[in-house]
């Protein structure tokens, strides 16, 4: 069974790999970002497609103040707001906690046991 699976995986990987080799960098993505993909890699990869997007790239569409509001917590826990947190305020680059092509954990988890149920990895 496991051998079968491996074979299937290899076959799948080959097919996918060839497609990928052709389209260079296509990877996992968030469905709700579909429209951004439609307008091309460079809409996010503003420093060229061979490197990471700039730290300001997400902010072309997303507004920090809005995010701060959306993730606001009660007065007692106000500094646990990931978009306006105790340690770095509103300045933490998005990619520290979110990845477009690969999942990421909230940075808070390095030291804290906070739960972010709606965290978009």
């Amino acid at each position: 069974m496991s051998i079968m699976n491996n074979k299937m995986n290899t076959a799948l990987a080959l097919v996918l790999g060839c497609c990928l080799a052709l389209s260079a960098q296509a990877r996992d993505k968030r469905d709700y970002h579909e429209m951004v993909y439609d307008s091309g890699c460079k809409s996010c990869h503003d420093q060229g497609t061979k490197t990471y997007p700039s730290d300001g790239s997400c902010l072309q569409c997303h507004d920090v103040e809005e995010l701060v509001e959306q993730t606001a917590r009660s007065e007692e826990d106000k500094w646990q707001n990931p978009h306006n947190n105790l340690h770095y305020g509103k300045e933490l680059p998005c990619v520290e906690c979110h990845g477009e092509h690969q999942p990421k954990q909230p940075m808070c988890n390095n030291c804290h046991t906070f739960k972010f149920d709606k965290h978009k990895q």
């Binding site: 699976n5 995986n9 290899t10 799948l12 990987a13 080959l14 996918l16 790999g17 990928l20 080799a21 996992d28 420093q47 490197t51 990471y52 730290d55 007692e76 500094w79 105790l86 340690h87 770095y88 305020g89 300045e91 933490l92 680059p93 990619v95 520290e96 988890n109 390095n110 030291c111 804290h112 046991t113 906070f114």
Partner: protein, 506 residues
């Protein structure tokens, strides 16, 4: 199935990349170079490496002294270094709050406490310089907007209460205001900028640095190297190396990756090693301190550390195997960390001891709510409940509570000689709050040797290396074997300010 597929695909892509001849990352060689023939990409007046307490204080002070073009370079994507996640505890002698609380203190007394914990090898001159200017540095934080709890704390090894703590119980209560102040006064800050070596002039003077801009942490080939000339000088405020497992194990093989660490991921020490490379004197590299207030139930410094620091003076630390105390709860950090590490079960496995505090006393610190809410500390209504939860023999535990309470009453701890001043009238009574303790690597006493002017001394000549200054945890030998709690922030701030003054006077 989907997970497996993903993995297969990723590995396959990696293979493709290599086969297709895509450039493979090779470790970047960071080497100090001769200035002769270097083409400078940029020129700045004061160049500061690192954005923790020391770097931020240096930037503000340099600007106050008239510098017009001050630049801070930070390798991480965010500013504040390890300082942004530290405990926010600031010791100073002769403060307004001490006057208010009637605490008699002096520079001499603070230095004497630190010399004792340094076990004979601390640098008295540097400790005195820091203590003398600590109030001034505290003022700088307040001027920038830092706010402090309205009470003092007495930390382990300190003979009196002299420690302020930010209202947010974190160093961010200082780095955030200082960072904003830097922005306000026109300091230029650069993140994702990794320092990769000094550029040395003919006379051995540090002329500038090699800097990798657009750097992504741990991706050593990311970004692009530029050469930056520093007209007045370079201030290295690059911090400790507690997160660099290889480097810390080279000094102390017991500090493996299994041992927890309170530090930010960027505390990896390359700045210090670059200074050694050009001749700086390494001091006390093997004195790496573990924090005895840390918890095995959360990562890093977390919430428990400050909870314990606040509560140790009026709490009882218990070995779960015996139900008895095993240390002076406010001895210096090394004494306590060593004592905790000796708490083991019959098989010799780690058995983290517990800290028991009366809820009515612990609840005065804001972290108590947090530790309970986030399940890294627990509240119990009876001794029996507590003993059952942690599998502590209840009879000896009850006897120990009774005995300890007699010391609270008499003010004389016959078991471990704990200073009971801050425990006055604070009996151990139900309901209790309890956390588990296990030391984590916290602070590197070692680093480069500096003078009281923050100059970096050269191994060969014994003279300061021209054009180079260092401040903060990257410096070594200041505290000796064991640094006292809340003495790092004053050191970072004062030496950062001192470095800035020296740069501007040079």
């Amino acid at each position: 199935m989907s997970d497996v597929n993903l993995l297969g695909r990723r590995n396959f892509i990696k293979g493709m990349g290599a086969a297709a001849g895509v450039a493979i990352a090779s470790p970047a060689m960071a080497i100090s170079e001769k200035a002769d023939g270097v083409k400078w990409d940029k020129e700045v007046e004061v160049l500061i490496i690192g954005s923790g307490f020391a770097g931020l204080a240096a930037a503000i002070e340099a600007t106050r002294k008239g510098a017009k073009d001050v630049h801070i370079f930070e390798k991480m994507s965010y500013f504040g270094g390890n300082s942004a996640i530290n405990g926010g505890l600031f010791a100073a002698p002769g403060t307004p709050m001490q006057k208010q609380e009637g605490v008699k203190d002096s520079v001499d007394r603070m230095v004497a406490d630190q010399m004792k914990s340094g076990r004979g090898v601390a640098d008295e001159g540097l400790l005195r310089h820091v203590a003398e200017h600590a109030v001034e540095a505290l003022q700088m934080t307040m001027d920038a907007g830092s706010e402090y709890h309205p009470y003092l704390q007495q930390l382990g090894g300190h003979s009196v209460a002299r420690t302020y703590q930010t209202t947010v119980s974190c160093g961010a209560g200082i780095t955030q205001p200082l960072y904003k102040e830097c922005k306000r006064i026109g300091v230029k800050t650069h993140n994702r900028s990794k320092f990769e070596g000094f550029i040395i002039g003919e006379d051995g003077k540090v002329e500038g640095v090699k800097m990798r801009e657009g750097y992504y942490f741990k991706e050593e080939d990311s970004g692009k190297v530029v050469y930056i000339r520093a007209k007045r000088g370079v201030i290295a405020a690059t911090g400790g190396f507690a997160q660099n497992i290889n480097l810390r194990m080279a000094q102390d093989p017991t500090l493996t990756s299994e041992v927890g660490c309170t530090n930010a991921p960027g505390a990896t020490g390359e700045g210090m090693y670059e200074m050694f490379r050009i001749g700086a004197i390494p001091v006390h590299m093997a004195h790496i301190q573990s924090g005895p207030w840390a918890s095995p139930d959360e990562g890093g410094f977390g919430y428990v550390s400050n909870y314990s620091i606040y509560n140790f003076p009026h709490s009882m630390a218990i070995n779960r195997l015996t139900g008895k105390r095993f240390m002076n709860e406010i001895a210096d950090r090394k004494t306590r960390a060593d004592a905790e590490l000796s708490c083991r079960d019959e098989k010799g496995e780690a058995l983290p001891p517990i800290l028991i505090t009366s809820y009515k006393h612990s609840k005065k610190h804001p972290n108590t709510k947090k530790v309970i809410k986030y399940n890294v500390g627990w509240k119990f209504d009876t001794v029996e409940e507590l003993a059952k939860h942690f599998e502590v023999p209840v009879k000896p535990l009850k006897a120990q509570i009774e005995e300890y309470n007699s010391y609270v009453k008499s003010g004389d701890d016959k078991q471990f000689g704990k200073n009971m001043t801050k425990a006055k009238d604070k009996f151990i009574e139900a309901p209790f709050t309890v956390v588990r303790l296990w030391p984590k690597v916290h602070y590197c006493q070692g680093g480069v040797q500096i003078t009281t002017k923050a100059e970096v001394k050269d191994s060969f000549t014994g003279q300061p290396i021209k054009g180079l200054y260092a401040a903060g945890e990257v410096c070594g030998g200041v505290h000796g074997v064991s640094r006292l709690g809340s003495c790092s922030i004053p050191e970072c701030m004062v030496m950062g300010m001192t470095a800035a003054r020296s740069v501007m006077d040079a």
